[in-house]
């Protein structure tokens, strides 16, 4: 299988093509390691768990933001997820049946090869004050229904890989937009029965809840099936009801 990989060394951009022998169960991350260890050790990318839990290796694989470790090379072509087309996808190299195209996540500055500057993403996360602000501390645990837990889990499952950030057309247009992950996190605290803060107003502005255009790419590219679009919709609905 051929891999066409975006390269950037701080000065020049290019694409390099590498041939990687196929192996049973091989993931795109395995292929990147094969290249790095056997062909070209100057290739840079982030990695850690290799099991789709740590969120290090989100990148654009055949123009879809995905975790390299979770993407089987032989399924890249057949697993074409239909996402809403956006500007960033027209940049860079074109898709081809001949190779798997690997590029850094859009909407974040590239530092080297497949490594992007995640600062903006983390800043947005910090801006929503992502920590529980409980009204009381019971002697033991707060009691909670399992049903509520399940509802929360839809959002706490987020691994902050930024695939949604790179897949959101609005993040490409509006630099100040908090983005799907931060808003999903904010919604998670909003629906947490233990939290006593007014969470909705924190993003009640044009770069928060109201910036979303419901392309739903966030949901489609999320490796953990987190539904930011749903949380954002609910938040807006609640805010509108408050106004009524």
């Amino acid at each position: 299988m051929e891999f066409k990989i975006y390269r950037y060394d701080g000065e020049e951009e290019s694409y390099d093509t590498y041939k990687v022998p196929p192996e049973e169960g091989q993931t795109v991350l395995d292929a990147l390691f094969h290249i790095q260890e056997n062909i070209d050790d100057s290739l840079s990318f982030r990695y850690s768990c290799r099991g789709a839990v740590c969120g290090s290796c989100a990148m654009l694989i055949d123009k879809v933001p995905r975790l390299a470790c979770r993407t089987q090379t032989k399924r890249v072509k057949e697993q074409k997820r239909e996402i809403e087309h956006y500007k960033a996808l027209d940049e860079g190299e074109e898709l081809s049946e001949d190779h798997i195209l690997v590029e850094p996540l859009p909407h974040l500055e590239v530092k080297k090869d497949l490594i992007v500057d995640m600062e903006k993403f983390y800043e947005n996360y910090e801006r929503i004050e992502p920590y529980l602000k409980p009204d009381e501390k019971p002697e033991k645990e707060h009691l909670m229904d399992q049903e509520k837990v399940s509802e929360l889990e839809d959002y706490t499952n987020c691994i902050l890989c930024a695939a949604c950030f790179g897949g959101c057309p609005v993040n490409g247009e509006n630099e100040k937009y908090l983005g799907p992950a931060a808003l999903a996190k904010l919604y998670r605290f909003h629906i947490d029965p233990r939290d006593d803060d007014d969470r909705l107003t924190l993003a009640d502005h044009e770069d928060g809840w109201w910036a979303c255009d419901f392309y739903t790419n966030c949901r489609k590219v999320c490796p953990k099936d987190v539904p930011p679009n749903f949380g954002i919709g609910k938040a807006r609905q609640e805010l509108e009801e408050e106004d009524d």
Binding site: G51, V53, K111, Y131, E141, M144, Q146, V149, T156, I159
Partner: protein
């Protein structure tokens, strides 16, 4: 050397997983100026991958209503094959309910029982359901909670820094030297305290559930600074890792009722642990699976089946959603429809940096917590659900102790500058000097050697062969070569630095394994199949000396639980 290349903090925590963040938060709470330094962003630490849960005798489940810290401690000590220090186990089990409730108050969304209390599931080696969990993503949930707290407390972070050495003077910590991965330069850190929280050394094995970053870097740093490594030969092999990628399939899957079956469709655990069956401790189940394979009852001689089908889709989706996703993504198997192919793989490092119950090492101001340390609460075999517990209990203890006893030390930046120069030379050598050995080949070879010679079953002759191979690899490291001469984001350089940790740690593991002529917990020898308390109810301590690693034995702290035969 410019002045601004030396950063200063009172406390530097190396590693941003659960133990590191918990220690940093506790020290910060006491007013210390704390910075966390890690080779990856904290949320990418291996803690995030922990699945099954965290033990505490909350007694929330009806059948466990009389649970107590003493029962938890007994199970832990028995599970450890009596090698754990009972004073340390006591501390851990006593503090367990408090740390779990504290995490809940900080925001962790634990799974719940019908009455709204934190849910608890049965785990291997435990008398009653004692393992609190957040579905099968407990580590992910806890790590996010603690990271959120660090945002609330505005702690300082140095992400993507790789520590190359600790700086000490007269048995006192002075700071450390680290490679700034992004900018490709060495920087010095001057501090009163350094806490190592760097995780285990699992990746010295080729079949491992561990993140790729678990290469034993912290253990080597302490060892090189003169701190002994303790009980390094005790390596936990998890019975159920996904065939192919060796990604962890939580013990919770068996806790929820999953069955292990050989290719004849038999629940073979009846022949090994008739009472506990699938919920016998990990060392016993792992050996059972290897024996099944050796006797021709495994699929393709390699794996057996973990069957969850009888649990039904609803239970699998509620309690084990992550497992279902992993099996589908990485093995193309849906556990609702088919059994999961599993085999044993390296999972946990029981051994580590020798510390006391407050995380202190022999060097003044140097602490270690979590998997990189050996307190010792796991002895020869760790029980599931006790590793997450260890990280937060001892992380918090060390952080508090540091915060309360912090004193400004007289620091000599000259020492740091000197160390910087030495490390610069080493990095230059790696980057620019010609060599003829590829780091990746060395790494692969080492991992194969470890699994073949120091795996689930061990014996003298094979281990000796293994050790001499490790020594050869260690020598070859001096001729290691990387092509990439760029300084920034040089992944090959980081891998090569990790390889140095790996070969040196492997040697200590090998030595301890050869010298311990008995079978205890995870260390099972075919040539000495019995536990030999008289000779070996001792901790192994290995120290670095001029003449190479030097091994000695030290007493185990016994206590209320008498040393007995271990049966399940």
């Amino acid at each position: 050397m410019e002045e601004e290349e030396i950063y200063e903090h009172e406390v530097i925590v190396v590693g941003g997983g659960l133990s590191g963040l918990r220690a940093a938060l506790a020290a910060g709470k006491k007013g210390a100026d704390v910075a966390v330094l890690s080779k990856v962003h904290p949320l990418r630490s291996h803690s995030v991958a922990a699945q099954g849960g965290i033990n505490a005798s909350l007694g929330n489940v009806l059948e466990a209503e009389n649970d107590s810290w003493e029962d938890h401690a007994f199970d832990t000590v028995k599970g450890s094959d009596y090698l754990a220090d009972q004073n340390a186990v006591e501390v851990m089990c006593k503090e367990a309910p408090d740390v779990v409730l504290e995490l809940e108050h900080m925001g962790t969304v634990f799974s719940r029982l019908e009455d709204g209390k934190i849910a608890q599931r049965p785990f291997g080696g435990a008398g009653v359901p004692r393992t609190c969990y957040a579905a099968d993503r407990t580590g992910h949930n806890l790590l996010n909670t603690l990271f959120e707290q660090t945002v609330a407390e505005s702690l300082d972070f140095y992400n993507e820094y790789f520590v190359t050495s600790l700086v000490t003077r007269n048995q006192e910590i002075q700071g450390l030297i680290a490679w700034d991965i992004e900018n490709g330069k060495l920087v010095g850190f001057s501090s009163d305290v350094v806490v190592l929280a760097t995780g285990g050394y699992g990746r010295i094995y080729n079949r491992s559930t561990n993140a790729l970053i678990n290469t034993g870097d912290g253990a080597l740093l302490a060892y090189e600074a003169g701190v002994p490594l303790e009980d390094m030969e005790f390596i936990q092999f998890h019975p159920t890792t996904l065939y192919g990628s060796n990604i962890l399939i939580t013990e919770g899957a068996r806790g929820e009722g999953g069955h292990l079956k050989n290719k004849e469709g038999e629940r073979f655990m009846k022949d090994y642990a008739p009472e506990a069956m699938e919920l016998a401790p990990r060392d016993i189940v792992a050996r059972a699976i290897i024996t099944e394979a050796e006797e021709g009852r495994a699929f393709e001689d390699e794996y057996i089946h973990l069957d969850l089908r009888h649990l039904g889709k609803e239970k699998i989706d509620e309690r084990l959603p992550g497992i279902r996703q992993i099996a589908r993504d990485f093995a193309g198997v849906d556990p609702v429809e088919e059994p999961i192919p599993v085999q044993p793989g390296q999972h946990y490092s029981m051994g580590g940096i020798d510390v006391d119950i407050d995380g202190k090492t022999e060097i003044d101001g140097l602490y270690a917590v979590g998997e990189c340390a050996c307190v010792s609460v796991h002895g020869a075999n760790r029980l599931g659900g006790n590793s997450l517990l260890e990280t937060v209990v001892f992380g918090r203890r060390a952080g508090k102790e540091i915060g309360e006893t912090l004193k400004k030390k007289e620091k000599d930046k000259e020492e740091i500058k000197k160390a910087l120069e030495i490390d610069k030379e080493e990095i230059n050598r790696l980057l620019h000097e010609e060599g003829d050995v590829l780091y990746s080949e060395l790494m692969d070879e080492l991992r194969e050697v470890m699994f073949e010679h120091f795996g689930v079953y061990r014996e003298e002759e094979s281990m000796k062969k293994g050790l001499s191979k490790i020594k050869e690899l260690k020598e070859k490291y001096d001729s290691v070569h990387i092509d990439n001469q760029n300084e920034n984001f040089n992944t090959a350089l980081i891998r090569t630095l990790e390889l140095k940790s790996m070969v040196n740690i492997a040697e200590v593991v090998a030595m301890g394994s050869i010298e311990r002529k008995e079978s205890r917990g995870s260390h099972f020898r075919r040539d000495y199949t019995e536990r030999r308390d008289e000779e070996y109810l001792y901790h192994t301590k290995v120290e670095k000396t001029e003449g190479g690693p030097k091994l000695r034995y030290e007493d185990v702290t016994l206590g209320q639980f008498k040393v007995k035969e271990r049966e399940y």
